[in-house]
């Protein structure tokens, strides 16, 4: 394990001198907010810097190599795996002030943005020009584009539109050495040299600091419609999902909530949850108005044929907002109601969702857990919200988590669909990746960051 220098007065004054004192977050309360993200982890930074310019980042990285202190880049701090936390101490580098949208180009369908731009702000800016940036992570009012790219964030629209990586054409990156590089192109196609762009995307801020992004946009869909459907159990709901997809429909979202989740939001539901295993599907469709009006009817019919007990059409925006608000409330209430909350984010082949969810009660009983499952039924990404009534028996809880992840891998799945590994999951990395693959990846890390000063301690267990 690499040894790091503490941030001494000398280092502090060098940083202040070379980067300017405006960027130093000196208020302790304020600096304290950078010790956390949306996970339960907490690591206090020795120093917090909020930069305005790429130049400052380059200088900071040169100092980091000179003195050997860690630098941990941070966007909106909405990550769920501790990726932006300074686990080895050192400087937290916040990019939230580098938040300009430099251009939204209608003809080329391209946007150029700084990394601190909030996801929602970019989506709105694109929409105001009739364009669409599809990735829609749940935390998009708080998350930044730089953070989304670093973690390859997904969201409900992934089923139709893919994840962040599918929209990143090119990057400007400060390497751990302080050198500035450019990767990728402004065009849709480009095959010159190795795909460094996609290597940075999803590398969780361990290979470089993204300082600029060239993003792909698409025309904004003319219209959206939706419907929700209640089923007696999850296997029936998943039969409907499969049937919808194999009949040639490609909804822009298919989300599911299991009975446990529904029981948390009884007061917000326009119907009484009919049975103990009831499952809700939330389906959205976008496209040309004539087409989706017809198609949403066809999808509703498929749900009924398969056995939906209630159908709640949501052609209007307000109705859809209400459903999504209910979905958000599920997350919040799980979090608020439990002493211990571990957000797992597995993905399994679609056909395996019912089997996995059916097995959850066994894990609950064996390891003293309460598991709320919801997620993206259309792409197999299930958010397993694992909770326990107390934090007393962490070993047992961790064993339970490990047993569930092992099951997921045996089903052909992955231990993280969209949250990343960061700090929270690194102990499980070798369950999914072979020794050869990990060796290769740590060697790549070593090429980019020989002194291990950038976001150390993440992804790879030491």
């Amino acid at each position: 394990m690499a040894e790091y220098a503490p941030i001494t007065d000398e280092i502090r004054s060098r940083i202040t001198r070379e980067l300017g004192d405006e960027c130093i977050v000196s208020n302790l309360d304020e600096a304290g907010t950078y010790a956390q993200d949306a996970s339960e982890l907490r690591y206090t930074p020795e120093m917090v810097i909020r930069v305005e310019e790429t130049r400052q980042i380059r200088r900071l990285m040169r100092l980091a190599n000179e003195y050997r202190f860690p630098v941990t880049p941070r966007g909106g701090g909405s990550g769920l795996a501790g990726g932006c936390l300074p686990v080895r101490g050192g400087v937290v580098l916040s990019l939230e002030n580098m938040n300009r949208i430099l251009s939204v180009h209608t003809e080329d369908l391209v946007a150029e943005v700084e990394p601190g731009t909030l996801t929602k702000v970019l989506r709105d800016a694109a929409q105001s020009k009739g364009l669409f940036f599809p990735p829609d992570p749940a935390g998009m009012d708080q998350s930044t584009i730089g953070g989304n790219a670093a973690t390859n964030a997904g969201g409900p629209s992934c089923i139709k539109y893919g994840t962040t990586k599918d929209y990143v054409l090119g990057l400007e990156v400060v390497l751990p050495s302080g050198r500035l590089i450019k990767t990728g192109t402004r065009t849709r196609k480009g095959v010159v040299g190795y795909d460094l762009t996609q290597l940075f995307v999803g590398s969780e801020g361990t290979l470089g600091i993204i300082t600029g992004l060239i993003l792909k946009l698409i025309p904004f869909p003319e219209a959206v419609s939706g419907t929700s459907a209640v089923f007696n159990d999850l296997p029936t709901a998943m039969r409907a999902v499969t049937k919808i997809l194999t009949r040639g429909h490609l909804p822009s979202a298919i989300e599911f909530l299991d009975a446990k989740c529904l029981s948390l939001v009884n007061d917000l539901l326009p119907f009484k949850v009919p049975g103990e295993k009831s499952t809700l599907l939330i389906i959205e469709l976008d496209g040309a108005p004539e087409q989706i009006r017809h198609e949403i009817g066809v999808i509703g019919k498929i749900c009924e044929d398969v056995g939906a007990t209630h159908l709640l059409p949501a052609p209007d925006k307000e109705e859809r907002e209400r459903i999504w608000e209910m979905r958000r409330q599920v997350s919040l209430r799980i979090h608020d109601n439990s002493a211990l909350y571990i957000p797992e984010d597995v993905a399994v082949p679609l056909g395996k969702i019912p089997a996995l969810v059916a097995e959850l009660p066994n894990f609950e009983a064996e390891y003293g857990l309460e598991i709320y499952a919801f997620g993206h039924a259309g792409d197999g990404n299930i958010h397993l919200n694992i909770t326990a009534e107390s934090r007393d028996n962490m070993t047992r809880v961790e064993k339970g988590v490990q047993a569930i992840l092992a099951r997921v891998i045996r089903m052909g799945g992955t231990i993280s669909g969209e949250h990343g590994i960061g700090e929270a999951k690194k102990q499980y990395l070798s369950m999914e990746l072979s020794a050869e693959s990990i060796r290769l990846q740590t060697e790549i890390k070593n090429v980019f960051d020989p002194n291990m000063v950038l976001n150390p301690g993440k992804i790879f267990p030491e």
Binding site: R186, T187, V191, Y194, L245, G380
Partner: protein, 460 residues
């Protein structure tokens, strides 16, 4: 270094005598690709499985010979050629489609499967694999991955990398790795999948592929429209996109391509036209007819003439006939072809067209442009006799200035063909020294002894 008899015998032991040859007549068959270059390998191998490949690689590291993986040799930049001798690894026995998983919208296949056969197999199940390089009748999935192949449908559906979920590869160190996932999403560790895709067979030998599939679109409609100038056609392309229509394909042919095909096939093409656009839309039955009407209106407002529509499969194939005939028909203009694959931001196509016209005027050479207007990907060809030194010099200078202009416009010098050997000399025009250094270091990690596909991508 030449392959010794001892090493060759060891190779025979690995793959079996029947699947190993160094007879001249066999070597010649694997010395070429779709470029004009030709390099004779020392031996040709036809391995049967991943373990055999791993054993070959281990031997290569021990006995110091190079290994060059090869799909079907339809590459345009020499990526599969044995430029430093060595052993060609022909992947043709890896030709099974392992599973088409309808419920999960994914498929598993071996790399030697021919792209068109894969298209047919998934379409039979009501599914769709969009990447469609022009050579799909003979190119292989493995080759497509290695080059990150594109094709006409990229304007709507993206390129090969957008469909690869995971893969198995033999590393140049002999280790076998599984990269990526079998699910639609996955963010565990660095994206080795996308690092291998487009690495032109220099980082690993792909032995198994998992791709995602889409539901097959219900209906396709196609049309062609004739314009007085290529600029007018390029403006029309911009207007189509500005209206929020993303066609399934949006191809263009310039006047020289139209004349070329016409003199070859005699299919009554408008030889006086400045340009021709070929446009396809797909989707639900209700939408395609509306879209094609909108496209007609846009084209008419831009002064298009002679608009033709196609609905059935054979009508659509007929419209494509001219576009597909260009490449082979070109050689009537000269025995040699310099073929480039530039991409510019869509809005800059008219600028590029003007520049090409100016170059044509200045050099007096025969230049033909066609390609994927929808994503700014122009296949630019100079036809000449390379024995004419004067013409060759002029052509090389023209290419240089074209590449510089491409990069000035924010474009790239290779959209879908790769770098291989034919573009290696130009890579530093696009990739800076720091970026290039990183790439070379990555290569070094994967392939410390430099045995896998040496002499490609990076200039020596």
């Amino acid at each position: 270094m030449a392959l010794t008899d001892t090493t060759f015998r060891k190779l025979q032991d690995i793959v079996g005598n029947a699947y190993c040859s160094r007879k001249k007549e066999d070597l010649v068959c694997y010395a070429y690709d779709a470029t004009a270059a030709s390099y004779l390998p020392d031996a040709v191998l036809f391995p049967r499985n991943t373990q055999e490949i791993s054993a070959i690689i281990n031997l290569a590291n021990k006995d110091a010979f190079s290994v060059i993986p090869r799909g079907s040799g339809s590459g345009m930049t020499g990526g599969s050629l044995a430029v430093r001798g060595g052993v060609i690894l022909v992947m043709s026995r890896f030709n099974r489609i392992l599973e088409i998983d309808k419920d999960n919208l994914i498929a598993h296949a071996e790399p030697g499967v021919v792209t068109a056969r894969f298209h047919q197999a998934v379409e039979k199940e009501g599914l769709f694999y969009p990447p469609d390089p022009s050579s799909s009748e003979f190119s292989t999935l493995g080759g497509n991955l290695a080059e990150c192949a594109g094709g006409p449908r990229a304007v709507k559906y993206g390129v090969t990398r957008d469909y690869v979920l995971g893969l198995e590869a033999v590393l140049p160190t002999g280790e076998i790795i599984q990269a990526g996932v079998r699910t639609a999403k996955g963010v565990v560790g660095y994206d080795l999948t996308r690092l291998l895709v487009g690495s032109e067979g220099t980082l690993g030998i792909i032995t198994r592929i998992t791709v995602r599939l889409l539901p097959l679109p219900e209906a396709i409609r196609a049309m062609t429209a004739v314009f007085t100038s290529l600029e007018k056609a390029a403006e029309t392309v911009s207007e189509i996109i500005a209206q929020g229509i993303i066609p399934r394909t949006l191809e263009f042919m310039d006047n020289a391509s139209i004349r070329c095909v016409e003199s070859h096939l005699r299919m009554a093409l408008p030889v006086e036209a400045g340009a021709l656009l070929l446009i396809e839309v797909d989707g639900k039955f209700e939408t395609v007819d509306i879209l094609i009407k909108q496209l007609e209106t846009v084209c008419m407002s831009q002064g298009a003439k002679d608009i033709k529509f196609a609905e059935t499969k054979s009508e659509i194939a007929n419209l494509w006939k001219a576009r597909k005939a260009i490449s082979p028909a070109l050689f009537q203009y000269g025995p040699d072809k310099i073929n480039e694959d530039i991409v510019v931001p869509r809005s800059r196509i008219p600028d590029m067209v003007r520049r090409i016209d100016a170059l044509k005027e200045k050099t007096g050479l025969t230049m033909v442009s066609f390609g994927h207007a929808g994503d700014g990907n122009i296949h630019f060809n100079i036809m000449l006799d390379k024995k004419n030194q004067d013409d060759l010099k002029k052509a090389e200078a023209a290419i240089d200035s074209l590449f510089e202009y491409t990069l000035e416009l924010g474009g790239t010098i290779s959209g879908e063909h790769g770098v291989g050997i034919t573009k290696a000399a130009y890579i530093t025009k696009e990739i800076g020294p720091a970026e290039l250094k990183l790439m070379k270091k990555i290569k070094k990690i994967f392939d410390p002894n430099g045995i896998l596909n040496p002499g490609k991508i990076f200039p020596d």
